[in-house]
């Protein structure tokens, strides 16, 4: 095995059986240890929970990329059809670009849910860029999932961690701002990941 940093996104359909579970479990173990060391708490005082897209990440609060700025906790939003094709546009507005204190968000994959729609739509976002602390950590090609309509999901062996109090930016590359007609396209992309934070901050399981 080589020692290069592998940031590629791998479609779930091209992974060995059990590989997704291994990536998830390994990532959780690594991040729990990191958080425990950084905030001086034993792992049993930490909770690993699902991401709330708006509340935790500010997903779809970017006024340029979304037709209407999101204030709700769901991943769906309409891409503005006046957005420039062939450029990255920021998904989280400047008001949502610093991670909260004592909160670590980990992103290790992407899901495209549009095949679950009654009428599947065209995917407008072709790439996703994740920047933390001023450095581009990953650029993922979202198109690669589309060869597998029954498993439109992909994960990476190099998860992106957004540590507490750190600047971050999520940006979508607009491969097509509309479906060739005049209507806006709804994005059904969601991020695969989790939140690690002290127990009691949001949840007390």
């Amino acid at each position: 095995m080589n020692n290069a940093v592998n940031t590629t996104l791998i479609p779930v359909a091209e992974l060995s059986p059990g590989a997704v579970a291994k990536i998830r479990n390994d990532t959780i173990a690594v991040v729990l240890a990191k958080v425990s060391a950084e905030i001086g708490m034993p792992t049993e005082k930490l909770v690993v929970r699902d991401i709330r897209p708006f509340t935790d990440l500010g997903w779809a609060t970017g006024a340029t990329i979304a037709t209407a700025v999101s204030t709700e906790n769901h991943w769906d939003f309409s891409l503005d059809d006046s957005e420039t094709e062939g450029a990255f546009t920021v998904l989280n507005s400047t008001s949502y670009q610093t991670m909260a204190d004592q909160r670590f968000i980990v992103i290790y994959g992407v899901k495209d849910r549009r095949m679950a729609l009654a009428t599947p739509i065209v995917q407008a976002m072709s790439e996703l860029r994740i920047t933390t602390g001023g450095n581009v950590r990953a650029i993922w090609d979202l198109q690669k999932m589309q060869a597998y309509p029954s498993k439109m999901a992909a994960v990476t062996n190099s998860p992106v961690i957004i540590p507490q109090n750190t600047d971050y930016q999520l940006a979508g590359y607009n491969g097509i701002s509309d479906d060739g007609g005049s209507s806006d396209v709804v994005s059904y992309i969601m991020l695969e990941g989790f939140v690690v934070e002290p127990m009691g901050r949001v949840l007390s399981p």
Partner: protein, 200 residues
């Protein structure tokens, strides 16, 4: 023996796709490390940007209008169809005279047909794909063999095509009919020094 065949994903043993990916990455990272005189941990493996890294779709021999967007030749609301009236011939997808960027290795080891994700499925207009690297034809893949498996039209090879820094290259698509939208993406990755684009 050089086995350069494309194998449909559905005809592979469980785990074989991962084995091919991992062994190809190991080989290319070792090669890049040696040739760039950089330790492996100073290299990054990342996804390919179709236009920015590969100039895919920039030749009007293949596309109606040359692309300048990072998509695999489709989805853009204009200029996304294959050039008309070109059936029964290879058409070059990369603008003539293109060479790979310095310190960048692009590796291609398979192909995906993405039209299954369309609401209204279209016919595939591409049958064969030819790779000319450094003025030699390295491989010809038959994409048609993957179409027998309608839930995942993709294939891989254990003999990857590696486009090394500053090397001229061309990718040519053999067209069946012409005038349809291409929904083909290559499976592969980029190896380059950390910091050139990404700093993980």
């Amino acid at each position: 023996m050089s086995n350069i065949m494309l194998i449909p994903l559905q005809e592979m043993a469980p785990g074989q796709a991962s084995a091919i990916r991992n062994s190809v990455m190991d080989a290319v990272v070792a090669k890049a490390s040696r040739e760039l005189a950089l330790p492996e941990n100073k290299l990054v493996i990342r996804d390919i940007r179709p236009y920015s890294d590969l100039a895919f779709g920039t030749n009007t021999d293949y596309m109606d209008t040359a692309l300048s967007v990072d998509i695999w030749g489709a989805w853009q609301s204009s200029a996304a169809s294959i050039d008309d009236g070109t059936a029964g011939a290879y058409r070059d997808a990369i603008v003539d005279g293109t060479t790979m960027a310095d310190s960048r290795y692009v590796t291609l080891y398979g192909v995906r047909d993405m039209r299954l994700a369309l609401n209204t499925q279209i016919d595939q207009d591409i049958s064969l794909i030819k790779f000319d690297i450094g003025a030699a034809d390295r491989t010809i893949w038959d994409l048609s063999k993957c179409e027998a498996y309608s839930n995942s039209i993709s294939g891989m090879t254990s003999s990857p095509v590696v486009i090394t820094p500053l090397t001229p290259y061309q990718i040519s698509m053999y067209l069946i009919a012409g005038a349809t939208v291409p929904y083909v993406e290559f499976i592969g990755f980029v190896v380059e020094p950390v910091g050139l684009l990404i700093t993980p």
